[in-house]
């Protein structure tokens, strides 16, 4: 990573070079990939250096000039170096979105999108993982705030986060089955809201424990 850091463009230069752009007129839409400037080239170069030359970023700019970058990482192993490269660019982890699109599921794959803020621009790094035995490295050593994102990811989906410092459940009760987003779990069970016999059994069991 030392080599990467030395050759990476300075963040301040990237921002300075990213001159304000004229907002697009209504109904005008820039085709994806046509918008290029120093900031976007710099981010793409840093990612390619860190995660492999085949890593490419597609940029979109909306009518107000707000930029989003979309990058599919070539492998799960590329996530950690790519995340380090984003941190070097003063990126902030904004959100983690795991999901199971039907098309990916048919291919035996799943996806996790990591969204980063780069001073107003949003960069999304998507990793493609196998459906079974999916594992990703924890990003908590690089982004402290990834802690809760990864805990939520682990409890909702069948994904193992390797190296998470505190892999407890975050929101869900420990009596619920693992990965409810990948199973048919009744909604009232999922939210612990069923008022049937199961709930009363639980209340009575709790009372017995208290006694």
């Amino acid at each position: 990573m030392t080599d990467c850091a030395e050759t990476m463009p300075e963040r301040n230069n990237l921002l300075r070079d990213n001159l304000p752009t004229t907002p697009l007129s209504p109904r005008e839409r820039v085709p994806e990939g046509r918008v290029r400037d120093a900031f976007e080239d710099g981010v793409a170069a840093a990612l390619a250096l860190a995660a492999g030359e085949e890593t490419t970023v597609t940029w979109r700019r909306d009518r107000k000039g707000v930029v989003t970058g979309w990058c599919r990482l070539p492998s799960g192993e590329a996530l950690l170096p790519a995340a380090r490269a984003v941190a070097e660019l003063n990126g902030r982890l904004a959100m983690v979105t795991p999901y199971l699109p039907e098309r990916a599921r048919e291919k035996g794959e799943r996806e996790i999108a990591y969204h980063f803020d780069l001073d107003g621009a949003t960069l999304t790094l998507t990793v493609i993982l196998p459906l079974q035995w999916a594992r990703v490295p924890s990003l908590t050593p690089i982004f402290r705030n990834c802690d809760w994102h990864e805990r939520e990811l682990m409890e909702l989906y069948d994904v193992q986060v390797v190296g998470h410092p505190d892999p407890r459940r975050l929101f869900l009760d420990h009596t619920l089955p693992n990965a409810p987003f990948e199973r048919l779990v009744p909604y009232s069970t999922f939210t612990n809201a069923a008022t049937g016999k199961a709930l009363w059994d639980k209340v009575l069991a709790g009372e017995r424990e208290d006694a």
């Binding site: 000039g65 989003t68 959100m95 999901y99 969204h115 949003t122 982004f143 809760w148 987003f181």
Partner: protein, 360 residues
């Protein structure tokens, strides 16, 4: 020094929603903290994938009461981005008006709750009285005191008649002096200074590390406001300064909120003055194609982010959102460290926590 672990719930913390803390004390000072969320987890990310995009506007408005306009408006922006829908200029301004009315009411509620937490009951009443001007405005214009039902995909579903514009102008005029007085009081009142200044300090470096957003970040000198950094709607045509402080304490967080409330008054006046004529909503909506989009907005508590992925049907493949409170909880570990137990309720309320939003 004795080490003790205590558990605190909403009753002890003066929270109106359930959140629990396991606090490790060294003597009477906080040494460590574990936040235990999930008490109001409603599985909403599960529900949104089983409702169509139009039904989700209604559902998302019920996610949280205080930022109930930010959720549907940001979600609609994500759908509009996927489908390439351009909303009419009048709708952009009307969305900003709704957002800013909610921001003033939300910020004042937070300041009132903190006054209550330190036993300043007359101040609590005064702040809530001032907030009532905004509550009445919401009721008069939108027909409801909390959920405004202002947004649809492609625009808004309410209009401001000339009479409503005049009413709002008067309401904004009525807010100015009380807001200025409140700012001075939170800045200089010795009783408030004694409880709020140098209390619950979050240094700037820790704020960056915890990735906090909104007034919590801006009170540490982080000059980040989505309305400036990633302009949306009418904000690229409105004039305002990002309110920042540098002390990073409870007082600084409140001063940022009160300065923003005052700015929101100006933003609403600018919207009313610039309000263009024209339709409220795109006349025809295209089919929503397969695609993905990010939409962000500055909710009262900070950056709100939505990610939408569609497959060409009316149902989202994935709809994920991250609320500003999500990261702000972690910063409490820094703010509370070394603080006496008596300061816990005030400091917890000073991040303006939203539990319904966090748990979803």
């Amino acid at each position: 020094m004795t080490t003790k672990i205590i558990e605190l719930g909403p009753h002890q913390l003066a929270l109106e929603e359930p959140m629990y803390f396991r606090v490790r004390l060294e003597g009477d000072r906080v040494a460590d903290l574990d936040v235990m969320p999930g008490q109001v987890h409603r599985g909403m990310e599960h529900l949104v994938m089983r409702r169509n995009l139009y039904q989700n506007i209604t559902l998302l408005e019920r996610l949280c009461s205080l930022c109930s306009n930010s959720h549907p408006s940001t979600f609609c922006t994500a759908v509009e981005e996927v489908a390439g829908i351009v909303i009419p200029p009048r709708a952009e301004y009307l969305r900003a008006v709704a957002d800013e009315i909610k921001r003033i009411a939300s910020h004042l509620f937070c300041c009132a709750v903190q006054a209550n937490a330190i036993g300043e009951i007359p101040l609590f009443r005064r702040v809530m009285e001032i907030r009532e001007i905004m509550q009445r405005a919401k009721e008069a214009i939108y027909g409801n005191r909390m959920d405004l039902a202002a947004n649809v995909i492609g625009g808004v579903r309410y209009d401001l008649t000339p009479e409503a514009v005049a009413y709002l102008y008067q309401a904004m005029e009525d807010m100015k002096k009380p807001l200025d007085e409140l700012y001075l009081q939170f800045a200089n009142n010795p009783a408030l200074m004694a409880r709020m200044a140098w209390v619950g300090v979050l240094p700037r470096e820790a704020a960056v590390e915890c990735a906090v957003v909104g007034p919590v970040a801006r009170a540490c000198g982080i000059d980040y406001d989505v309305r400036k950094k990633s302009p949306y709607g009418a904000y690229d045509r409105l004039d305002f300064e990002v309110a920042t402080q540098t002390a990073g304490d409870v007082r600084a967080r409140n001063l940022v909120r009160l300065a923003e409330a005052r700015q929101s008054v100006s933003l609403i006046e600018q919207c009313l003055a610039q309000l263009p004529a024209g339709p409220l909503c795109a006349d025809t909506l295209p089919e929503i194609p397969a695609g993905e989009a990010i939409a962000k907005s500055e909710a009262p508590r900070g950056e709100l982010m939505y990610y939408l992925r569609t497959d060409g049907s009316d149902f989202p493949v994935r709809l994920k959102w991250r609320v500003p409170s999500y990261m702000n909880w972690d910063a409490l570990k820094v703010m509370l460290k070394g603080e006496p137990v008596a300061n816990i309720p005030l400091i917890v309320n000073s991040i303006d926590p939203c539990i319904a939003c966090t748990d979803r």
